[in-house]
Amino acid sequence: MREALFNLTWLIPLFPLLAFALIILWTHPSRKWSTWVAWIGIGLAWLLGWTMFFLSWGDIHHLTPPEGNHPVPLWALPTGGSVLKIGFQIDTLTALMLFMVPFVCLMIFVYSKGYMGYGTEHPDPRYSRFFAYISLFACGMLGLVVSDNLLTLFIFWEIMGLCSYLLIGFWYDKSYPDPNRITPRQAGLKAFLTTRVGDVIMLIGLLLLYSQVGSLSFKDVFSQETLHMLAEQELWMPIFGTAPVATVIAILIFGGAVGKSAQFPLHVWLPDAMEGPTPVSALIHAATMVSAGVYLVARCFPLFMAVPLDHGGVQLAVVAFIGAFTALAASTIALAQNDVKRVLAYSTISQLGYMIAALGIGAYVAAVFHLITHAFFKALLFLGSGSVIHGVEHGHHKIAHGHHDHEEGHFDPNDMMNMGGLMNKMPRTAWTFIIGGGALAGIVPLAGFWSKDEILAHAWHEFQHTQHFGTFWPLFVWLLLTVAAALTAFYTARQICLTFLGEPRTEAARHAHESPPSMTWPLMILAFFAVILGLFGTPWANQYHELVGEAFAATPFDPFVAGLSTVLAVGGAVCGWLVYGRAPLRAGQVDPLKRWLGPVHGVLENKYYVDELYRLIVIRPVLRLAELCAKFDYDWVINRLVNTIGQLSIRTAERLGGLDLAVVDGTVNLVGRAARGLSTLSNTVDLKGVDGAVNGIGHVVKAGGRQMRTLQSGWVQDYLLLAVTMAIILLGFMLLVLPILR
């Protein structure tokens, strides 16, 4: 039973993928069907995922690495000399991810229905496409966590990158009056290119690993002999000198995580990714995709542990430093942001920094624990902020309808300065948001407290008792993270106060109202988890440790650390309330923080000018170089040749574009017609079949014929499409289904 079920692992990413294909090919024209297809796809993945999670919880030893992980080989690619085996696996880490990913996805899918305006007067014009993209994304993330090798992991990783690009730029036609503000299109590109830097580094790491080991499957790579071999071998590099191969590979792979999990210095894309629809921000840029980097490091943890620090293994130090630095830097930036989503974005970067830093000091269990709790409460916070934005936007529309001359487009529904006093207007959103905020700030006994505390306790413990990671690092990490924890509580309190307390600062906020149930229900469910999840990870009965941390010593409870972090969290929150809550801001009033911090506030508001720095040292030189090359091409030698080739490729691209359109149009048209036909048919069956009379059957027969007749559109490509599709279905049936039936 269990074995048979685990053998179905590959189905988990397949369901959303099918949903994606169905929506793109068939149900595209119908919002209703697209919603349902996406929901069913992720719903099935969720059911299967949770089944597997609870099964593995029931029998942990069965799945504990190294001998316990349950591989499901799928196929093998011969590659010249060797064979590349590709498959899926379930182990405890995967099972835990399967608890979180599909469920959060499901919540956000449900939420998206309301957010994208289903059933309202102005639904999003690309509504169905949105569901197709997020289904594809879910496929990517689920595939990533069930992969049993780094190659498929990388492929799914890239699928997510693509989805992220598509979804950040989802409103690609949007533009702002302020030319300096980044548009969704630019933001998508920025995210894609920035993470690409990390991905290339990671790919180099994978190639190096493959060249050394000859395999990319976790089982081969993380076996004791291989790790030992990698730790023993040395690699000479220019500038850096010699280093153990394992260290080099680990740092390169960590490069991928830095890009994906938005760690310094590649964090710049994440705040701008907030240009996408809010469910996307919640799903991809807070809960799941960004945690893929953490997952990657956790997954490759044996590799990171292979060389100790005193043998030249600096990899964990690098990880710890980057994580801790990011955690602190991002939380300071979050203090000075006014965009409700940007505050959350920086808090996400900061929390991811926590996880990375935790891994860097060996707190594997704590990092995974925090990953899970963070996913839930951060999804909650983002969805809550989406609900707020939605409400304010509607309020704005309401008054904009009143006066037609209202300056449309200059109003920013994301700006917290435009909000205030929403507690009464949107009680459900407000309360769930406060719970999520409490979890983020680390208030006892919400989820965030326990996981954050475990990280801090582990750092402190490392510093005091063992010198496994050196003496300096754990203390450094502990110090930075503790400061960051206090700041986190402060900016969370600030955000809550600015948004929900006091009096509405604009007309729009005054006319805001609660979001539809399909949006508030996911909030409440996620809030429930944000409360209880931590209770499974208390230092006294840490289920997470039992589940994923068999190989590691448990972190002992430290009253000093717990007390300190509680004091800091409550203190930060109280400070926040004192500044922003006791005397709520009124319209037009300057942020008090700005007065006190003076020029420092400007630095924070501008995110330490990192973007500007990149523009100066990367973007502008590259553009210069490109211009120079262009000039060279254009003015001199190969002008003619280049022109010809260029035109040729432009023409090809145009053709390809047309082709694309033709395919999508053609398919969609045919399929749409067929679907419409079928739905009418089912409608007829509903209406007429109930009678049950012969008359009714006659009608059904006639209706069936009439509907089938619409298949005969007169377009020969429709005919061929049907033939090819059916041939593929028959082929699949013969090769996959029939052997099972026998």
């Binding site: 009439r706 089938m708 298949l711 020969v716 041939a727 028959l730 013969m734 029939l738």
Partner: protein
């Protein structure tokens, strides 16, 4: 070892058809306009000679050209079908092109080449041969469909037919290459031997993929759903005599090659293709009959009816079982094809007659046909009876034989689906007949029928009834031909 003259004798039907086609083409260029009328009769002469040559090959069992070409009773049976269909279609087309196109002779030459292709197909025992002969059949069919260059519908039908057919045959060819890859041979019998020896589970998927891809090509030829969609458009657009030919000759050829390939090369995969063929069969029957209800053009209606008939015939293949019903089900298919040949050609001949008098193919034009020409009305009645499967008609016996095979294997569900489909089909055939007999005509003018058409009508009518009333010899013919 055979000497050249013996080989020439064995492939006599083929070269006679080729020579006849060339002759017609040459004469079309040299004869004057006033003697153009001779051409169909010259073509008929050629067909007659080919028929005689075919009959002389009865009881021969020879493989020629390194096993490329097989002469057995199965092949001869389809040679006869090809010649009969072509002959009747040529007769029915005499005078049809009057005023439609100035090029009349080429039609007969191309039709002879089509007949040649069918005879080649029936004898093909090698994938190379199968592919070439199917393509010859297809390419000439495209040309003949788009024959009326001035008629927009005809050229449109030709182009659609071509595009669909080219893609389908490319997929089929890919399947053939997979079969070649699985066995290392292109000879059907050798493929069958290799596959039955290799009983490893791992090697099964390649032949299975090949089966599906082959079915795309063969399904296209027999117009089985979901590879049927070209048929209605092509039937409607093509010159009516050629539509008639497509519905019987081309379909029979498709079944010939389907049987030959599946039963020679892939009998060991019966467990696999059985499910496929059953699915296709049910889909084809149901779809054809349901859509036929709504047709307003009689050619389209007959196209859907002919699709549905392909579904019935596929039951025969689904019920093929080497132990229980091997020969029986093949012979049922052969008998069905023969009876269907006469019935459907007859129905199309009535359509041609009406079209030549009225100028269109709308079903509404059939109102009061009985008052305008009672013979045509009566003939149509008989043909439709046969198409529904009501005794005493040929297709009824064919259906009976096929159902008998199905019942032998206890595939009752298939029979029930087929029977339900029979009831549905009654609906649209009756729709036409109701107009013919009970509605008042718009135009009282009697419809004249030319002599060649009368001959065709007489032959098809007699044979439609004859294959039922004197069924025994035909069943025996089918049984003796059912050797593969």
């Amino acid at each position: 070892m055979l000497i050249a003259s013996q080989i020439l004798g064995l492939i006599a039907p083929q070269w006679i058809l080729l020579v006849a086609a060339m002759l017609v083409l040459a004469l079309d260029l040299t004869l004057g306009e006033e003697r153009e009328g001779w051409l169909p009769y010259i073509a008929l002469l050629g067909l007659g000679a080919a028929l005689v040559a075919s009959l002389s090959l009865w009881n021969r069992q020879v493989a020629l050209f390194e096993g490329l070409f097989l002469i057995d009773r199965f092949a001869v049976f389809f040679q006869i079908i090809a010649v009969l269909a072509t002959g009747l279609v040529i007769l029915a087309s005499i005078g049809y092109f009057e005023g439609k196109t100035p090029y009349k002779g080429q039609f007969y030459a191309l039709l002879l080449v089509t007949a040649l292709a069918i005879t080649l197909l029936a004898s093909a025992a090698d994938l190379v041969m199968v592919f070439i002969s199917i393509e010859v059949l297809s390419v000439t069919s495209y040309t003949l469909t788009g024959y009326l260059i001035a008629d927009r519908k005809s050229t449109e039908a030709g182009l659609k037919f071509f595009l669909y057919g080219a893609a389908a045959s490319a997929i089929m060819l890919y399947g053939m290459t997979l079969l070649y890859g699985a066995t290392g041979s292109t000879n059907l019998a050798e493929i069958g031997r290799t596959l039955s020896l290799a009983s490893g589970e791992g090697s099964r998927w390649l032949p299975i993929a090949a089966i599906v891809m082959l079915l795309v090509g063969f399904g296209f030829k027999v117009s089985a759903a979901p590879f049927h969609q070209w048929a209605p458009d092509v039937y409607e657009g093509a010159p009516t005599p050629f539509a008639a030919f497509l519905s019987v000759g081309s379909k029979a050829a498709g079944f010939a090659i389907l049987l030959r390939v599946f039963l020679t090369a892939l009998p060991d995969f019966r467990v696999d293709w059985f499910a496929l063929v059953t699915t296709l069969s049910i889909a084809t029957m149901t779809l054809g009959n349901l859509i036929a209800i709504f047709q307003e053009n009689i050619k389209r209606m007959l196209a859907y009816s002919s699709i549905a008939q392909a579904g019935y015939i596929l039951i025969g293949l689904a019920c093929w079982d080497p132990q229980a019903t091997g020969r029986e089900s093949i012979s049922a298919i052969l008998f069905y094809l023969l009876a269907y040949l006469f019935t459907n050609l007859g129905a199309f001949t009535v359509v041609i007659a009406v079209e030549r008098a009225v100028g269109t193919n709308e079903i509404s034009d059939y109102a009061g046909l009985i008052r305008r020409n009672p013979w045509l009305a009566a003939a149509l009645f008989v043909f439709f009876l046969s198409l529904v499967g009501i005794p005493p008609t040929g297709v009824f016996v064919g259906k009976l034989l096929i159902f008998a095979a199905a019942v032998r294997l206890e595939y009752y569900a298939l029979v029930i689906v087929a029977l339900i489909n029979g009831v549905i089909s009654l609906y649209y055939y009756y729709g036409v007949l109701r107009r013919v007999f009970f509605l008042a005509p718009r135009d009282e003018a009697p419809i004249a029928v030319s002599t060649p058409l009368r001959v065709v009508l007489a032959v098809t009518l007699i044979m439609t009834l004859g294959t039922a009333i004197f069924a025994q010899p035909f069943i025996r013919l089918a049984l003796t031909s059912a050797v593969l």
